[in-house]
C-alpha cells in the first residue's frame, strides 16, 4: 500500500502550510514530486489517488496535472534516468552524437529501459544549461559539457553503485 512515513507526512503538512487556508491544492505539484521520489520514481494510479486524498481533491484533478508536466513519469523507469537535452543550443554543440553514443553503449532506444532495469534514456527539451552544452539531467543533478568519455564515466559510476 502506498503511504508516506510520519516524517514525510510532516513535510507534506509544511508544504500545505505555505498557502492560505483552503488553497491546499496548490501543494499538488510539489507533492507529486515527493511521491515520485518516494514511490519508485514514477506515479502509479494508486500513488496519484493517495496524493489526491491527502489534499482532499478528486483523483481526476491529480491525473490532469500529472499528465501535463513532463517531469512526472507515468510508467516505471530505470534506476538511473538519463534525460538528454536536444533543443537548438545543445544540438549546435553535438547533443545528437551524445544521444547516439548512449543508445549504442546501453543498446536501447530513446524512451526505453535496459533489461537489467538500471538505465532509462529519454530526450528532453531545453533545461536551461545552454552555455554548458551538451548536457543531461540525472535525478536532481545536471551533467554538463558531456563527451563520450564523460558518458562512459557516468555509466561506470552508476554500475559501481550496484
Amino acid at each position: 500500500m502506498v503511504k508516506f512515513s510520519e516524517d514525510k507526512l510532516k513535510e507534506v503538512q509544511s508544504m500545505i502550510d505555505r498557502y492560505p487556508e483552503g488553497k491546499q491544492k496548490s501543494a499538488l505539484i510539489p507533492l507529486l514530486h515527493l511521491a515520485q521520489e518516494d514511490f519508485g520514481g514514477w506515479l502509479s494510479a494508486e500513488t496519484m489517488d493517495y496524493v489526491g486524498s491527502l489534499l482532499g481533491i478528486e483523483p481526476i484533478e491529480v491525473y490532469e496535472v500529472a499528465t501535463f508536466y513532463s517531469m512526472y513519469n507515468l510508467k516505471p523507469v530505470g534506476k538511473h534516468v538519463f534525460e538528454v537535452c536536444h533543443t537548438g543550443p545543445c544540438m549546435l554543440k553535438g547533443s545528437d552524437d551524445i544521444i547516439a553514443y548512449i543508445k549504442t553503449k546501453l543498446d536501447i532506444k530513446v524512451g526505453e529501459t535496459t533489461a537489467d532495469g538500471l538505465f532509462t534514456l529519454k530526450t528532453v527539451e531545453c533545461l536551461g544549461a545552454c552555455g554548458y552544452a551538451p548536457m543531461m539531467q540525472m535525478g536532481i543533478d545536471y551533467r554538463e559539457h558531456l563527451t563520450e568519455a564523460k558518458v562512459d564515466e557516468i555509466i561506470a559510476a552508476c554500475r559501481n553503485k550496484q
Binding site: 496535472v65 508536466y69 512526472y72 549546435l92 554543440k93 531545453c126 536551461g128 552555455g131
Partner: protein, 449 residues
C-alpha cells in the same frame, strides 16, 4: 570595465551566505525601503526606466502601478523563475551565485506592492537551486529581514519557493499562476490581467528574477541614477546568457551601449568563434526571437552598428531586425544548418504547446513534420510555402504568446535563409552529408581581425 550592478559580487567567496552578503553591503536596500512610502518605491522603479527582463520588456514600474488595491483583499508578488526559453540561463546563474540579491529584491518589492506572502515559482528541473534559495530565505529570516515585523517596521513577509514540473508554458504569467494553484499550465484569457485578478483571484504582480534583483541597485542608487546607465529606453544593465558556437559561453552583465560585434568577438565577452570559423547567424534574444544572418546582425539594414539593446536589436522590425528578448544569445557558425536548427526549435514548441488553442496545438505539430521532411531531403518547394502559411496562421491567433514564439523562428528562418531550405529540397542526398554553409551571402562576411 562595464558597470556591474547585479554580478559585481558574484565571485566574492561565500557570497551565498547572509553574513558575507551583508558585509558586502547587502540588505541596505531593504533598510532604505522600509523607511519609505511604498508608493515612493514604485515611483523610483518608474523613474529607473527598468523594463521586464523576462523577454517582453514591459516597463516594470508601470506594471506595478496597475496593481489593484481593494480593501481587505491580499495582494501577491510572484517571482517568475521558470526560465525555460532555449538559450536562456541567466536567472539560474543569478539564483545559484547570488541568492540573497534576489531575496533582497523580493523583500523590497513585496513591501512596495504590499505582498505579505510572496512566491518564487522555479522551473522543476532547477531542483538544486531550491535548496540554495531556501537556505538564503532561512538566513534572512534569522536576521530579521523576513517574517513578522521586519526590522520593526510593522511589515510582515514570508517568501516560499514553489517547484514547477517541466512546462515551458508556465513562464507565461497566467499559466504560471494556474500552475501555482495546482493546475495544468493553461494560460488564461486576458483581461482580466493578473494585476486585477491573479493568484487565487487576488491582485498579483508576476516579475522575472532579473527584474526583481535589479530593484536592489535601483533603490540603492535612486531611479534617476539608474536611468543614466544605458541608452534611450534601454536603461541599466542586462544579463546576457551566451551559448552556441563561441569560445566563452556564459552569463555576462552588459551595459546596453555595447555593440553586438564587440560582444561576440571581445575577449571580455564571448571571445569569438572557435577554430577560426566564420559567423553565420545568431538568435540574439532567446529561441523565440527572429534569427538574423551575420550581415544583418552586426549592422542594421541602414548600415548602423547594431547594439545590444531593445531598440537597436529590433531596428528594422521583423523584416531586417530581431529582439533583445530574454537575452538568450545563440551563435551559429558557418558549419551549422539553419533548417536543422529551426527543426529543433519547432519540435520544442510542439512539445511545449499547452494544447488549448487549435492554431498552436495543430500548427506546431505540422511545422515540425514539414521541417523534418525538408531536413531529411524529402521535402518539396511547396512545403516551404506551406510552412510560411502555417506560421502566419498561428501568429496572433492564440490566447498566449507561445503561438507567436513558435511562429517567429520559422518565419525568420525562411525569410533570411530561404535559399538554404530550397537547397535541401533540390539536393535531397547531398543535404544528408553536407551543410549549405555560407553560400547565402552576396556580401562579404565579417571575419574577425
Amino acid at each position: 570595465m562595464a558597470t556591474k550592478l547585479l554580478l559585481a559580487k558574484a565571485h566574492v567567496e561565500g557570497i551565498r551566505h547572509f553574513e558575507v552578503y551583508r558585509r558586502e553591503g547587502g540588505y541596505a536596500a531593504v533598510e532604505k525601503a522600509l523607511k519609505m512610502e511604498p508608493a515612493a518605491i514604485v515611483e523610483e522603479v518608474k523613474k529607473s526606466g527598468l523594463r521586464g527582463r523576462g523577454g517582453a520588456g514591459f516597463p516594470s514600474g508601470m506594471k506595478w502601478s496597475f496593481l489593484a488595491k481593494p480593501e481587505g483583499v491580499p495582494r501577491y508578488l510572484v517571482c517568475n523563475a521558470d526560465e525555460s526559453e532555449p538559450g536562456t540561463f541567466k536567472d539560474r546563474y543569478l539564483m545559484e551565485f547570488l541568492p540573497h540579491l534576489l531575496i533582497e529584491g523580493l523583500i523590497v518589492s513585496s513591501f512596495a506592492l504590499g505582498s505579505n506572502r510572496t512566491y518564487i515559482y522555479i522551473r522543476g528541473e532547477y531542483a538544486w537551486i531550491v535548496g540554495i534559495l531556501e537556505q538564503a530565505i532561512a538566513e534572512a529570516k534569522q536576521n530579521g529581514f523576513l517574517g513578522k515585523n521586519i526590522l520593526g517596521s510593522g511589515f510582515d513577509c514570508e517568501i516560499y519557493v514553489q517547484r514547477g514540473a517541466g512546462a515551458y508554458i508556465c513562464g507565461e504569467e497566467t499559466a504560471l499562476i494556474e500552475s501555482l494553484e495546482g493546475k495544468r499550465g493553461n494560460p488564461r484569457i486576458k483581461p482580466p490581467f493578473p494585476a486585477i485578478k491573479g493568484l487565487w483571484d487576488c491582485p498579483t504582480v508576476v516579475n522575472n528574477v532579473e527584474t526583481l534583483a535589479a530593484v536592489v541597485p535601483i533603490l540603492n542608487m535612486g531611479g534617476e541614477e539608474y536611468a543614466k546607465i544605458g541608452v534611450g529606453r534601454s536603461t541599466g544593465t542586462k544579463l546576457i546568457s551566451a551559448c552556441g558556437n563561441i569560445n566563452k559561453p556564459g552569463v555576462y552583465e552588459i551595459e546596453m551601449t555595447l555593440s553586438v560585434e564587440e560582444f561576440i568577438y571581445s575577449d571580455e565577452y564571448c571571445g569569438g568563434i572557435p577554430n577560426g570559423k566564420r559567423l553565420k547567424a545568431c538568435i540574439p534574444g532567446g529561441s523565440s526571437v527572429p534569427i538574423l544572418p551575420a550581415n544583418l546582425l552586426l549592422k542594421t539594414a541602414k548600415g548602423e552598428t547594431r547594439l545590444m539593446n531593445y531598440e537597436s536589436l529590433s531596428d528594422g522590425g521583423f523584416a531586417t531586425g530581431s529582439m533583445l528578448g530574454s537575452g538568450g544569445f545563440i551563435v551559429l557558425d558557418e558549419d551549422q544548418c539553419v533548417v536543422k536548427n529551426t527543426l529543433t526549435l519547432a519540435r520544442f514548441y510542439r512539445h511545449e504547446s499547452c494544447g488549448q488553442c487549435s492554431p498552436c496545438r495543430e500548427g506546431t505539430g505540422w511545422m515540425e513534420k514539414i521541417l523534418t521532411k525538408i531536413e531529411n531531403g524529402k521535402g518539396a518547394i511547396s512545403d516551404i510555402d506551406l510552412l510560411w502559411d502555417i506560421q502566419r496562421k498561428i501568429e496572433g491567433n492564440t490566447i498566449c504568446p507561445l503561438g507567436d514564439a513558435a511562429a517567429w523562428p520559422v518565419a525568420a528562418a525562411i525569410r533570411h535563409f530561404r535559399d538554404e531550405f530550397e537547397w535541401h529540397v533540390n539536393n535531397p542526398e547531398l543535404c544528408q552529408t553536407q551543410n549549405y554553409g555560407l553560400a547565402h551571402y552576396a556580401d562579404p562576411i565579417h571575419v574577425p581581425a
